[in-house]
C-alpha cells in the first residue's frame, strides 16, 4: 500500500502537505514506467526555478529516461519554493525512495485543500486499471 499521508494525481505525482509547504514527488509507479525498474535508465531531470508560479496541471519539468521524455505536472496550484538539487545528479534516489528523499519540488500552495486528487486507495485502483 502506498503512503496514506498524501494525495495522488492521475499524472502520477503525489503531494503532501507539511505545515505551510506542499511537497511534490512522483510515485513508484511513475518511476517504474520511466525506468522499467532499472534506475540507470533515468538520465536527466529538468526542474523549475524557485519563485515560479504554477497552475494546477501545468508542466513544471521533465524527467528523461534512456527511452523517452516525460513531463512533470503540478498536482496543485502554487509557487515553487525549492527544488531537490540532490536528484539532478542522483536520479537513482527516485527509485530508492520516491516517497521521501526523492521529493522533487516544494511549493507554497495557493489553497491547502487537496480536493480533486486521489487518496492512496483510489490511486491503487487507478494504477491497477492501467496495468495490462
Amino acid at each position: 500500500m502506498r503512503p496514506n499521508d498524501r494525495k495522488y494525481a492521475q499524472s502520477h505525482e503525489w503531494v503532501k502537505i507539511d505545515g505551510d509547504v506542499a511537497i511534490v514527488g512522483i510515485t513508484d509507479f511513475a518511476v517504474q514506467e520511466l525506468s522499467n525498474g532499472n534506475e540507470s535508465d533515468l538520465v536527466y531531470c529538468d526542474l523549475p526555478e524557485a519563485g515560479r508560479t504554477l497552475a494546477a496541471g501545468e508542466t513544471f519539468g521533465e524527467i528523461e529516461s534512456v527511452k523517452a521524455v516525460s513531463d512533470l505536472y503540478a498536482p496543485i496550484a502554487g509557487e515553487v519554493l525549492e527544488t531537490n538539487a540532490a536528484i539532478e545528479d542522483h536520479l537513482e534516489i527516485l527509485s530508492k525512495d520516491p516517497w521521501g528523499a526523492g521529493w522533487i519540488i516544494k511549493m507554497k500552495p495557493e489553497r491547502k485543500s487537496l480536493e480533486g486528487l486521489m487518496d492512496a486507495a483510489e490511486y491503487e485502483k487507478f494504477v491497477a486499471s492501467k496495468k495490462h
Partner: protein, 365 residues
C-alpha cells in the same frame, strides 16, 4: 499485434514488451544501457522475427530487382549481400533492405513496419517480369547474435560450415542445432562482428535457447529493441522513419553506397530524381554529440546563433562513447566535423558538436 515465435519466451524472461511495426516486441529485458554494453563487450542475442523476409525467384528475379532497387543487383557476387532501398519516382524511399544474391534467386530482408507496403510495391511493378515473389515472413523467424564473442559461441552449434570463412556481408548455409541448410549471414545492425540466422518458426525457440545455453560462459544475453536502437545509431546505420522516410532520400542520408547510377543497371524507379539530388544536395546527415545532460530526440531543432540550421533524426544515450549522441540533418555549411551548434529543448539551448558518422564501428573502421 503480431507475435513472433519467441513471444512467450520473452515474457517468461521478464522482458518489457511494446508495439513496434505492428509487432509485440521486447524493448528490454534488463537496463537498456547494460544491454548495449553487453553487445559491445561480449555478445547479445536478438529476436528479429518481426522483420520481413521475401524470396524472389524466377528467370527475371535479378533484372526485376534491378528495376525496383537502388543498388546494382546483377553486380552482387553470388553469396554476397548489399544494402539497398526501394524508392518512389521522387527518389524518396518506401523502405531500405538487404539483398542476398543467390545463383538463381534473390533473398530480401525488409523492415517489419514496411513489409506489407514493400510486397504491394513489388507486385505493382512485376508486370513484364517472370518472377515469383514468396513472402516467407510469417512462416520463418530470424535471430541475430552480435558481438566479439559471437563466432566462438555460434560455432559450438554449427556443423558443416566454417563461420570464420563467411566474410562481412557474405552468407552461407550450414547445419545449426541439427537443422540442415540454415541460412547464416555475417550481418547485423550493431557495428559489431555478428551473424543473422534464418529459421523455420518451429525451430526458433529451440535455437534461441541453445544459443543462450552455449553462450552462458561468454555472458551472452538477450537484447531488446531499446539497446538495438542505441547500437545501430552508434554504428551510423539508418532506421526507416528516422534518417530516411517518405520525405528523406538516401543521397542526403549519406547512403550513396546503396545507390548505383551505372548505365549497365538500366533505368530504375527513382533514378532520375536521385541523380538530380546527388548533383545538388541541400542538406547532409551528420553525427552530433551534446555537451550537456539532455538527449536530443527526433524533431529537436538545431541552431547556429539565431539561424535554424537543421533537426535531429534519432538520439540516444551512448554507453560506448559515454555521451549523448544523435543523427541530424544540417545545412551544408554546417556539416563540417567540429561545427559548434545548439540543440533546442523547448526554448532551452544546449551546445552540441557535429561529428563524423559512424560514431563507432568494429566492422567499418
Amino acid at each position: 499485434m503480431k507475435q513472433t515465435a519467441l513471444h512467450d519466451v520473452h515474457a517468461a524472461l521478464g522482458a518489457k514488451l511494446i508495439e513496434f511495426g505492428g509487432w509485440h516486441m521486447p524493448v528490454q529485458y534488463a537496463a537498456i544501457l547494460d544491454e548495449a554494453r553487453c553487445v559491445r563487450t561480449t555478445a547479445g542475442l536478438f529476436d528479429l522475427g518481426h522483420m520481413g523476409r521475401v524470396h524472389v525467384r524466377g528467370k527475371d528475379a535479378v533484372r526485376f530487382l534491378d528495376r525496383v532497387c537502388t543498388n546494382f543487383v546483377a553486380k552482387i557476387p553470388v553469396g554476397a549481400i548489399r544494402y539497398s532501398l526501394f524508392c518512389k519516382p521522387d527518389g524518396n524511399p518506401i523502405d531500405d533492405l538487404l539483398v542476398y544474391r543467390e545463383p538463381e534467386s534473390v533473398y530480401l530482408v525488409v523492415n517489419a513496419s514496411n513489409t506489407a507496403v514493400d510486397l504491394a510495391w513489388l507486385h505493382e511493378h512485376r508486370a513484364g517480369f517472370e518472377v515469383e515473389i514468396d513472402d516467407q515472413s510469417d512462416r520463418t523467424g530470424m535471430l541475430a547474435l552480435q558481438g566479439q564473442r559471437s563466432t566462438e559461441v555460434l560455432a559450438r552449434l554449427v556443423t558443416d560450415c566454417d563461420l570464420a570463412q563467411i566474410g562481412y556481408y557474405k552468407f552461407g548455409f550450414g547445419t545449426v542445432c541439427g537443422i540442415p541448410n540454415t541460412r547464416i549471414s555475417r550481418t547485423g545492425y550493431t557495428g559489431e562482428l555478428g551473424y543473422e540466422l534464418y529459421l523455420d518458426n518451429s525451430e526458433v525457440v529451440r535455437v534461441w535457447n541453445a544459443i543462450l545455453e552455449a553462450g552462458k560462459g561468454a555472458d551472452v544475453r538477450p537484447i531488446g529493441l531499446g539497446a538495438r536502437d542505441i547500437l545501430r545509431l552508434e554504428a551510423g546505420m539508418p532506421l526507416y522513419g528516422h534518417e530516411i522516410d517518405a520525405t528523406h532520400n538516401p543521397i542526403e542520408a549519406g547512403l550513396d553506397f546503396g545507390v548505383s547510377f551505372k548505365d549497365e543497371k538500366g533505368d530504375w524507379i527513382g533514378r532520375e530524381a536521385l541523380a538530380a539530388i546527388k548533383a545538388a544536395p541541400r542538406k547532409a546527415l551528420v553525427g552530433i554529440t551534446t555537451d550537456g545532460p539532455r538527449v536530443p530526440r527526433q524533431g529537436a531543432r538545431l541552431f547556429r546563433g539565431d539561424h535554424e540550421v537543421g533537426y535531429v533524426c534519432s538520439g540516444a544515450v551512448s554507453p560506448t562513447l559515454d555521451t549523448n549522441i544523435a543523427s541530424a540533418y544540417v545545412e551544408l555549411d554546417c556539416r563540417a566535423v567540429g561545427s559548434a551548434l545548439e540543440v533546442d529543448f523547448k526554448g532551452k539551448r544546449q551546445p552540441c558538436t557535429v561529428r563524423e558518422l559512424p560514431f563507432f564501428s568494429r566492422t567499418r573502421k
